[in-house]
Amino acid sequence: MLMMAGKAVAAPEFKIEIKNHLFFPPVLTVPAHTKVKLRVSNQDPTNEEFESYELNREKIILGNSQAVIFIGPLEPGEYPFFGEFNPKTAQGKIIAE
């Protein structure tokens, strides 16, 4: 019953790439108050973990593969995320507006 509710509206999709342990684009603007579908594609051969305390999201993105993460609906603001396996370089943020 609860499971069906989430599928009703198609969420707008945004793409993030991981290359050389960096996120592209490093800053992504998404609509506020809306559920958003992130497609994270890891171009590196090594695994990465997409992590954000502000977004409450955590997911392993295997090397040379992709993953889907739904986020939001977000209040307007900035939501940093990082790659847990390479936290010094892999940093980005999502801006909801």
Binding site: E54, R57, L62, S65, F85
Partner: protein
């Protein structure tokens, strides 16, 4: 590199160590030997290896949300098994020793599978014989050491409480751990769009950040979440009630192992 690997491995090991400690304290109190835990960890390590090597396939399931569905299924299974465990534990029946042992072995093996696979997926990124790998392994040993030490501390603390009749201390930690797992399942099912997206209902990150040491520790013990959604809070409360309250309906006045709590 050293610090990153210490933190990553500590986070994974800590959660497992706390869970094993609580069950070990309960099983010792029940009069069982500790050998079951070694068996469970062994099965869990094998499971972690298998899960990590199959994750490329699993990840593509359900439009690239297979990881969430799989992890949530495993975690909900653990929560249900723990609920049965508490019901059995509270009954004074020697025939229940085997199912109690079986549940402890399966739940620890499943927890180890999830946490262990994450460590393996992290470590697989470093080429053999590289200096980075050396640093990472050193950091990993450090992280694992700290995690196991905190687990051991919790075990002796609980054993002390239980020896003095406060068996409910262990059940309380088990209830919080289990509730945290259920709440986390709700979060990852939302992340996979299997549960409706929701706004957060409060934000305690300025009081206690999830990134702080205490925040991390509380996350491992009781699934602390600074910015939960309503569904997560409901799941958490339900999870606590499952472990703490349900046995009171099924097992009336027969708490053989609780002497004076």
């Amino acid at each position: 590199m050293l610090l990153t690997s210490t933190i990553i491995i500590l986070r994974e090991v800590l959660e497992g160590a706390i869970f094993v400690s609580v069950l070990l304290a309960l099983s010792s109190h029940y009069g069982l030997r500790m050998i079951w835990a070694w068996l469970a960890l062994l099965i869990g390590f094998a499971g972690a290896y298998m899960y990590a090597s199959k994750l490329d396939t699993i990840s593509t399931w359900f439009d690239y949300t297979g990881q969430e569905i799989m992890n949530a299924s495993i975690q909900i299974t653990i929560v249900l098994l723990l609920t049965v465990f508490v019901l059995l534990y509270r009954r004074p029946d020697s025939r229940l020793v085997k199912p109690i042992l079986a549940i402890m072995i399966v739940t620890v093996a499943l927890t180890t599978t999830i946490e262990g696979s994450e460590i393996l997926l992290y470590l697989s990124g470093f080429p053999d014989n590289s200096s980075a790998l050396y640093s990472v392994i050193l950091g990993g040993i450090l992280g694992a050491g700290i995690g196991v030490s905190i687990g051991a501390l919790l075990y002796y603390l609980l054993a002390y409480f239980m020896a003095n009749g406060v068996v409910n201390a262990a059940f309380l930690i088990l209830a919080l751990f289990s509730a945290g797992m259920l709440s986390h399942s709700v979060q990852i099912l939302t992340q996979a769009d299997w549960l409706p997206a929701q706004r957060i209902i409060w934000d305690t990150s300025s009081l206690l950040s999830e990134t702080s040491l205490l925040g991390q520790l509380l996350y491992a013990i009781m699934g602390y979440e600074a910015t939960p959604t309503a569904n997560q809070v409901v799941a958490y409360v339900f999870g606590v009630l499952l472990i703490l309250l349900l046995p009171r309906f099924f097992v009336k006045n027969t708490r053989p192992h609780a002497k004076s709590d």
